[in-house]
């Protein structure tokens, strides 16, 4: 490998040719401040438009200052990262960025986690010269079911554009106009609702300011909790327990399952249940569907479509409803765990405790912003009463807990309520990329072969590689599994299916890089992909701690089928636990 030698702040370093000054400096332990730049190394995601100019340094012999995020190291370069010229330039750049930025930090949803605010603080900005003459951006706010866009706060870092176009290939967001009118948004400046947006929330996950935030549903939840006529039931997604602690200063990867349960009970929820229960249920339905399709396919039935695609992820569902609407028969018809939970809570469980579904409010705690949209879909309600009333993100739950002055760090661990809080390790790993299909295989193997699965952990399905594949041996029948996380990666697998080139039996797709653990509603990672890896490890730890790790062994799932549903794929199951898909493209583009 060819290398170059250079000096940064009087320290010599040798790096591979092509390395940026920013990365070389980092190796020396010099943290040059950056704002628009973002590097999610393990996920192969990098945003370096060289736009903000905060990361400039002085290079000997170069006339102007060099942006380190996009300037490559050259042999013999002499770099100074903190000369007076550099510090003054950074300050001036920051003053310009702030000059047309709203100063409502006190009430901004990003206050405290805002990278712009942090940078202003780090650079010691105390006044903005010429502020009285500055033109302010005045862009209207856009509220969709999941995401709020407040473009006055956009600093044109283009991170959201990178996520939406390069990583997710959704193509909903692009920069438009120039100067003070410049912003990022959908075509023709329409609302997100009229674009190809999947509500995956990756734009929100990377936005350094308050320009992109989630719709806050905490007030509605608080209202329901204070309504004595309502029984309020809460379900928590697997990825939440592996990340919530970060909001309270705990190390990334700290599991807070028991503390979270205690906090939810302290907040006043009547029943604290677990989406993992519904994940086990999903495996029963989706696994049965997979085996049914597979065995018909093996017998030569042409109507049995292979591969089967997982359907747990609402961002992914929105994506194929837009871009692959001619393939609506390929994904599993199984609802997502969130919606299965809602359907069972408001039928089976409401019956059990003798209340009308209208008197029950189901709240979900999700790492995901697309779940907010999903629970509002018409097909997931009965006579206008939704199966899941409100979905709040991990971040919203954290704020709610803080508002209620609950000291989560010092709460004693508590257990979920029964029966919808009981789950297996298979339900837990739904939070990681590869987890849904691993959980499905644990059950499908035993049902298909009639034998006991000796090795539970399909490590060949794990990892952070964007597209992965493995062939599992189902007692002589090869099962080819494909996995993609990030919608751009999913597109690669989907194009093969479309062109009849796919060899897979089953494909798992999660819209967000890393799976649910890396979703748009999680504590902000601020460009540190180690955090996402730590959450993934925590999920696998939780799985290993569970006494039962196969969905079909969950005694409460067995009981649910005995008492209520009959068997997987029954008429009642179909009615409550399966769905159908739409062509979303017709609804959008130019608003007619």
């Amino acid at each position: 490998m060819e290398t170059v030698k250079l000096t940064i702040d009087n320290k010599e370093i040798e790096v591979p040719r092509g390395t940026t000054i920013l990365k070389a400096a980092k190796e020396l332990g010099i943290e040059i401040p950056t704002l628009c730049y973002m590097d999610l190394h393990d996920l192969n995601i990098e945003n370096k438009p060289g736009g903000c100019r905060i990361c400039v340094v002085e290079v000997q012999g170069r006339r102007n200052l060099a942006p380190t995020c996009s300037t490559k190291c050259e042999p013999g370069m002499v770099v100074k990262t903190h000369t007076a010229r550099v510090l003054n330039a950074r300050r001036t750049v920051m003053e310009f960025i702030l000059s047309d930025h709203p100063k409502d930090c006190l009430i901004c949803p990003k206050s405290g986690t805002c990278e712009l605010q942090d940078m202003a603080h780090r650079l010691g900005i105390r006044e903005i010269p010429g502020q009285e003459f500055a033109e302010m951006s005045t862009y209207r706010k856009d509220t969709s079911p999941s995401i709020i866009r407040d473009l006055d706060k956009c600093i044109m870092c283009r991170r959201c554009e990178t996520m939406c176009n390069d990583v997710q290939t959704v193509g909903a967001l692009s920069a438009f106009n120039r100067g003070f009118q410049a912003a990022v948004g959908p075509a023709f400046e329409q609302n997100l609702e009229y674009s190809s947006c999947t509500y995956c929330g990756q734009c929100v996950a990377v936005c350094p300011t308050g320009a992109l935030t989630e719709v806050n549903h905490v007030p509605q939840v608080l209202k329901a909790l204070n309504d004595p006529t309502k029984t309020v039931v809460v379900q928590t997604a697997p990825a939440v327990r592996a990340a919530l602690g970060e909001e309270f200063g705990m190390e990334p990867g700290t599991l807070v399952t028991g503390k979270m349960t205690a906090a939810l009970r302290a907040l006043g929820f009547d029943y604290v249940f677990d989406t993992d229960f519904a994940a086990d249920l999903t495996i029963m339905e989706e696994g049965t569907e997979l085996l049914d399709r597979l065995s018909r396919h093996l017998k030569g039935d042409k109507t049995a479509r292979i591969p089967i695609l997982t359907s747990c992820c609402p961002g992914w569902v929105n994506f194929f409803e837009y871009y692959y609407s001619d393939m609506k028969d390929v994904p599993s018809t199984a609802k997502s765990p969130q919606q299965m939970f809602g359907a069972i809570a408001k039928s089976y469980f409401a019956e059990k405790i003798g209340i009308n579904r209208k008197d029950m409010v189901v709240v979900s705690i999700m790492p995901c912003l697309a779940k907010k949209y999903e629970c509002q879909r018409d097909e997931f309600s009965v006579d206008g009463n939704p199966d899941v009333d409100f979905s709040i993100s991990t971040r919203e739950l954290a704020t709610f807990i803080k508002q209620a002055n609950i000291d989560i760090r010092n709460l004693h661990d508590e257990e979920f309520d029964s029966p919808l809080g009981e789950s297996t390790g298979a339900g837990v790993i739904f939070g990681n990329t590869g987890g849904v299909i691993e959980a499905a295989c644990r059950t499908a193997y035993e049902i298909f072969t009639g034998k006991k699965l000796e090795r539970l952990e399909f490590t060949e399905l794990r990892g952070m590689e964007g597209v992965r594949s493995a062939t599992l041996d189902f007692d002589g029948t090869p099962i080819k599994i494909g996995i993609a996380h990030g919608l751009g990666n999913a597109r690669k697998l989907l194009d093969d299916v479309k062109n009849g080139k796919s060899e897979f039996t089953a494909i798992e797709v999660m819209a967000c890089p890393g799976g649910c653990i890396g979703c748009g509603g999680q504590p902000l990672h601020h460009g540190n992909s180690d955090i996402i890896k730590a959450r993934a490890a925590a999920i696998y730890t939780e799985d290993r701690k569970k006494p039962l790790r196969k969905s079909h062994e969950n005694p409460f799932i067995i009981k649910l089928y005995e008492e209520f549903l009959g068997k997987p794929g029954s008429e009642k199951s179909h009615h409550l636990l399966h769905t159908h898909y739409f062509d979303r493209k017709d609804k959008i583009l130019v608003k007619k």
């Binding site: 193509g171 920069a175 438009f176 106009n177 959908p186 075509a187 023709f188 583009l589």
Partner: protein, 160 residues
């Protein structure tokens, strides 16, 4: 954005398709395709951008981004008599801005807009190479020199 909606006829769609294929449907050729389409349609309404997006396989948001970035591209149709007022240095110092203000007042439109009857549209430009005649106004292909605000009414009358 423009609120003007058009129904594309089959031949319009075919024209866009042909223009795209002339450039091998290469996303890198977006700007050239936009030039071709604007020359043909006179402007680039949303509907045209959508067809381009489809054939070049570029998100329509990106197409819109490019259209709004370059001032040459417009989403508003030009009037029957497009009026351009020079704002180059010479014209500006000799009162070009006052002339522009007068046109805005008389027509009741802003720069970049067209009158309701689509008769006139207003734009400003930088230097037409006739600085000796400053301030200069162009209406279609016709040039008016040494225009004073008081002349504006008379100029417009010529096109009634």
């Amino acid at each position: 954005m423009s609120s003007i909606k058009i129904e594309l006829r089959k031949e319009d769609v075919d024209f866009i398709k042909e223009t795209c294929s002339k450039f091998n449907n290469d996303p890198q050729e977006l700007i050239n395709v936009l030039h071709g389409c604007q020359e043909h349609f006179g402007y680039l309404p949303a509907e045209v951008q959508e067809v381009i997006s489809e054939h070049l396989n570029v998100p329509v948001a990106k197409v819109y981004g490019v259209v709004t970035f370059y001032s040459f591209f417009t989403m508003t149709p030009k009037g029957k008599h497009p009026i351009s007022i020079c704002m180059g240095t010479a014209c500006y110092v000799r009162g070009g801005e006052k002339v522009l203000e007068e046109f805005k007042k008389e027509l009741g439109i802003k720069v970049g807009e067209s009158t309701k009857d689509n008769k006139f549209s207003l734009s400003s430009l930088r230097c037409v190479g006739a600085c000796g005649l400053a301030p200069v106004v162009l209406v279609g292909d016709k040039t008016y020199g040494r225009v004073a605000p008081d002349d504006v009414k008379g100029i417009l009358k010529e096109y009634e």
